[in-house]
Structures are given as structure tokens and as C-alpha cells.
Symmetry: C2
Amino acid sequence: MKALEEKICREGKVYPGNVLKVGSFLNHQIDVPFMQQIGEEFHRLFQDEKITKVLTIETSGIPIACMTAVCFNVPVLFAKKHQTKNLSDDCYCTEIMSYTHGNSYQARIEKQYLSKDDTVLIIDDFLANGCALVGLMDLIEQAGAKCVGCGIVIEKAFQDGGQKLREMGVRVESLARIIRMDPETGIEFID
Amino acid sequence: MKALEEKICREGKVYPGNVLKVGSFLNHQIDVPFMQQIGEEFHRLFQDEKITKVLTIETSGIPIACMTAVCFNVPVLFAKKHQTKNLSDDCYCTEIMSYTHGNSYQARIEKQYLSKDDTVLIIDDFLANGCALVGLMDLIEQAGAKCVGCGIVIEKAFQDGGQKLREMGVRVESLARIIRMDPETGIEFID
């Protein structure tokens, strides 16, 4: 998605250690009108699937999931990372490694909100090593629901998550795929 | 907002200790088409203000803030509760008490995303003791920005947050105000 690549180049900041900050529009401040365009693009890509629910994980996936779910006229469900009193005990639960934070955490969804009748589109902001997506697919499988694929805003294609998932037969649609990035030389995309 | 009160009565579950669970549409699964109506209602209420930014706090406020910001055609900014490597050190920071979880936490926004030129609408899912809103107003004040008020989906009007804020002169618009709730006798609203 050309407009997204241009926005990443204009507003994104690359730091050593393959860190890309896009807090101006994606995961701190949210450019909601632009997220509408992102949502419409995911709708265009997955419109032939009979999606009943959009699944994401807190926090940064939520705005994108909402702007996508509007186009499909379906609810969003987000997996919770943090223990909260508002969550019942009757949950599907999976363990997800976070390389960014050097730990692992439990992601949970209440069983009542996902069932074998659901056809699910997963949405997230970033794809790097793919651990979060594999965790979300595990939750979908536990519920006996169907996963039609993953809609990703930015794929770090120099990490192996995307390749791993595609080799597993998962449909992964990334709107921008970064093959190389460097604080000095900038950001390079592949199609 | 009548449709909201009806939805709370139909889908909400009251537990002892004044706990109201609305995970079916507000803070776990999100009824996005319904959140669109909520956003339109906040737009109707605040349309005369020249809002440049919608501010909320992770996590549950984010979907509502996004569906509201769409109507104003402005960005959302959400305060972060959790330490993350993606946040710069150059932040406005405030301490918020959480009675729900019996602790306090730091809420942060990066300084570059809020300035004295901003006119801000605060959006959140719940108002009980008002600590989160006071914290968000503190962040706005630190930035020298203007706060036009708070749009709340559900106010627990039997707690004193709403009264405290209104006495401080803050415009608080709550779409449903619960004056009494009980697992046996149900939920009672006031206008």
C-alpha cells in the first residue's frame, strides 16, 4: 500500500536494533482517518470471506481492528495480555513469547465470545517473529473457529515470522513489508 | 442514550461489589457498529467545540475514542499505562490510583503529540471515582492544551467521580448514568 509506505518513510523513525517507531500514527497517536483507509484495504483483500469476527491483541492492534471491523460490520474481540478482575475464569489461554520485552505472557479470551461458528480475521500492527499471531491462531483453534488469515500493517520481512506463517499455509496480507532498515540509510520495502 | 441503557440491561451482568461486566460489547468483545452510534452521539454533544485531538487511556477507552475521532476527523492519542520500549523518555507523566486493582500506576504520553495548540476531548468507557480522568486532565494541563470535557459511556453515578469533576467545572457527558445496581434487582439509571 503505497500511501502507507510513504507515511512510514515520512513519519517513522528507525533506531539501532531494528526498532521502528511509528507512534505518530499507529501505536501511540493514531491517525484515525488514515486507519480508515487501512481498514478499507483489509476489507478489499478479505471481502470474499464470510468474516464474523475480527480478532486482535491489546493494545496497538485495537484501533486497526476496529477500523477494519467497521467495513465488515462485525464485532472485534481482543485478547487480553494483562490480568484483570473484569475477565472471567472461563477463558481460552495461550502463552506468547515477547522478544521485544524479553519475557512471555498469557493471552486470554473469554470462551463465550468465540465459537466454532465464527470465521475470524486476525489483525495486528506489526509482524516480526510471528509469536503473537501464532498465539491468536491457537486461541481460534481452541474455540474450534475458522481463521481466514492475518491482516498486518507493517511486516518486518527481515525477520522470519511472515515466512514461517506462509509456509504453514496461513494467508498473511501485509500492507507494508520492510526488507531492510537502518538509521543511516533509511527504510527499504519489498512487494 | 436509550439504546445504550437497553443494551446494558440486556447484556450487562451485575456482580457483588458494584461490578458491572459489559465484555460483550464494550471492553473485551467490541460491538463496533454500536460504538459507531456512541461516537456519533459524542460528536453531536461536542460538535461546537473545535476539537483537534481525542485523548483516552489504554485499553478499553481506545475503541470508543477511535469511533468518536472518526466523526471529528481528528487523531486519537492514548496514554500508556504499561512501560514499553517504544515510548521515548520525553513524556508527560501522571500517577493514577486504581481502586479496582488496589494500586497506582504511571500514565504517560509523549510530549511531541500534545501541545498548547490542541483542544482535547477526553473519552473513556467508565467513570467511577474519576481518578483516570483527573490524571488525563493533568497530562493536558502539563502540555498547556485545552480540555473541552469528558465523554463517558457508563457513569457509576453512585460513586463520587462525576460529582467531583462537575464541581470542578469540567463538562462531563455520560451516555448512561447508573444510580443503583444489584445482582438481584438489576440496574437503575438517572438522566
